[in-house]
Symmetry: C2
Subunit: 318 residues, 2 copies
């Protein structure tokens, strides 16, 4: 087993696309081999720059990510793209979009694209994404673009993994700036005003800048607003420059390390939580057993606190 | 201790405001007494109808909740209001708003208002809210209004506790319907178009209705759109009627029970997770110890998977 894992890890380090794909599937399915491989690969990580890209559906995130990827490819940097879209009957279209994108880069072995949409029984999409990013890092990718719809906490957590986070917005009416979700505003290191050829761009940018001016500066960085028209590759250069500037700003700074440690702290908590729950599930508290207990509670035959104590006692914990 | 808990529980059952307030603080602080009291009170729960109200900042949720509360009070129904606002430097204003609201109902002992804004070290705002709702239920409240800003997963989880969920929107430009977050659209049982005296209301309603028509019907229910102008108490009656209709629709239906069991299943998982993490924290893995491990991982001296295994071994789990 370990020989196999070693072999697998070697192939991933060499950038073997099939080995990488298989490993991602293993991570998604929580196969124990995935962790063994990640353990082996961990010392090889820490080289990639992770760029998170978030924004509402329809803001043009995917096109923007593609443009950035092409730009980094021209600099000979191996690129990984992870597109996370928690399946929603209202959003949709992710898979089709993904296929179209794959075609554009199909002949380039220096780019790896993968989309992920499944949320497991116990959640953990952020954890899966983090593991996939580590994998691509070990596989030699130097830039990893993680793209996600900025909806729930899970997606915000995904973007928090990033070294640099782009929040993509688009101009509409003047009212819209107020409608932007608070949580999204706070995670942006750079704000991208895409579709900037639309009417209302000036006013939107004005309001956005005014809103950002109210926020406290973080470690000497005030998030800039960059205008783009991704479909026409306009502004991508300026955006890449802004990312470089941000990277330089935090390159040697202490805050960057602090952020890094904070990030690992969160990751450790998540891993711990996941491991504990897997252990409980292993002790016979599968979906069916849980539903049976939930039924008793719903009928007020048992209170939830006692029910949980009983489950913990079964696993050997009080 | 149990004598005290019994006494405390009796006071809560009698609707004693001080006892309820103290219990909520105990829940927020995760005091062990809180659980003891909740255990005692659990058989008395299941009577209240829980209405979740969510929407972006500025849509007028609080005013709407106040109007509904007044309406239920006129029917002599005891009402509880829980306003959840995870503190955000961008939103703000919650506490001031809360004080103003308290004044309007200050002389009415049949209404209990509490705002919660703190998110603990290990998260769990949804869990706290669920416990507070149980408490108010046992305290004799027959309608509980839980109001939250529809931002992160935590807030969506809070609303999922509800028997009936209102999503509050307001008209702006025609573009805005597309900008509504996917996760929010899916949880709405009733959509409230507040500030319906504004320009663009017709167009907004048209688009919203068209969007809702695309969604699958849930158990024979298609979410209606109700127009309100909460500041002028317009449409509140229609909204209360829509809630009644929804309640009737699911009163005896099997899907309602299924939803109930599913809800308790989620609650049990959350409680379990929280208990496991508390146990780990109790074994010396406090904040400081965790940061020390995170440091080692950030410096690639240790991989996160081995680090977590070591922590689990310390607690007596592999």
């Amino acid at each position: 087993m370990t020989a196999t894992a070693n072999n697998w890890a070697d192939k991933i380090r060499a950038g073997d696309v099939r080995a990488i794909s298989r490993a991602i599937t293993a991570i998604e399915n929580h196969e124990p081999e995935a962790e063994e491989v990640l353990r082996l690969l961990f010392p090889d990580t820490g080289q990639a720059y992770l760029i998170g890209v978030t924004g509402s559906p329809g803001t043009g995130k995917s096109t923007l990510v593609d443009r950035l990827a092409s730009r980094y490819r021209k600099q000979q940097l191996p690129v990984g793209i992870v597109a996370v879209d928690p399946s929603s009957p209202f959003s949709g279209g992710a898979i089709l979009g993904d296929r179209i994108r794959m075609q554009g880069h199909a002949t380039d072995s220096g780019i790896f694209i993968r989309s992920m949409a499944t949320r497991g029984f116990l959640g953990g999409l952020a954890r899966t994404t983090a593991d996939v990013a580590l994998l691509l890092d070990a596989a030699g990718k130097r830039v990893i673009l993680v793209e996600t719809v900025g909806v729930g906490q899970d997606e915000v957590d995904i973007v928090k993994l990033a070294d640099c986070t782009l929040v993509v917005l688009m101009p509409g009416s003047g009212d819209e700036v107020q409608a932007i979700k608070a949580g999204i505003m706070e995670i942006g290191d750079i704000f991208v005003l895409n579709k900037a050829d639309r009417e209302g761009t000036d006013r939107f940018e004005q309001q956005l800048t005014a809103m950002l001016a109210l926020a406290p500066e973080r470690d000497g960085w005030r998030p800039p607003v960059v205008r783009t028209v991704a479909t026409e590759d306009k502004g991508t250069q300026q955006l890449a420059a802004a990312i470089e500037k941000f990277r330089g700003h935090f390159a040697a700074a202490a805050p960057r390390n602090a952020k890094n440690v904070e990030r690992w702290k969160q990751r450790l908590l998540e891993l711990l939580q996941a491991r504990l729950m897997e252990r409980v599930a292993g002790e016979g508290l599968g979906e069916a057993a849980l539903v049976a207990v939930a039924n008793e509670v719903a009928e007020r035959k048992k209170d939830p606190y006692s029910a949980v104590s009983e489950i913990l006692a079964r696993v050997g914990l009080k």
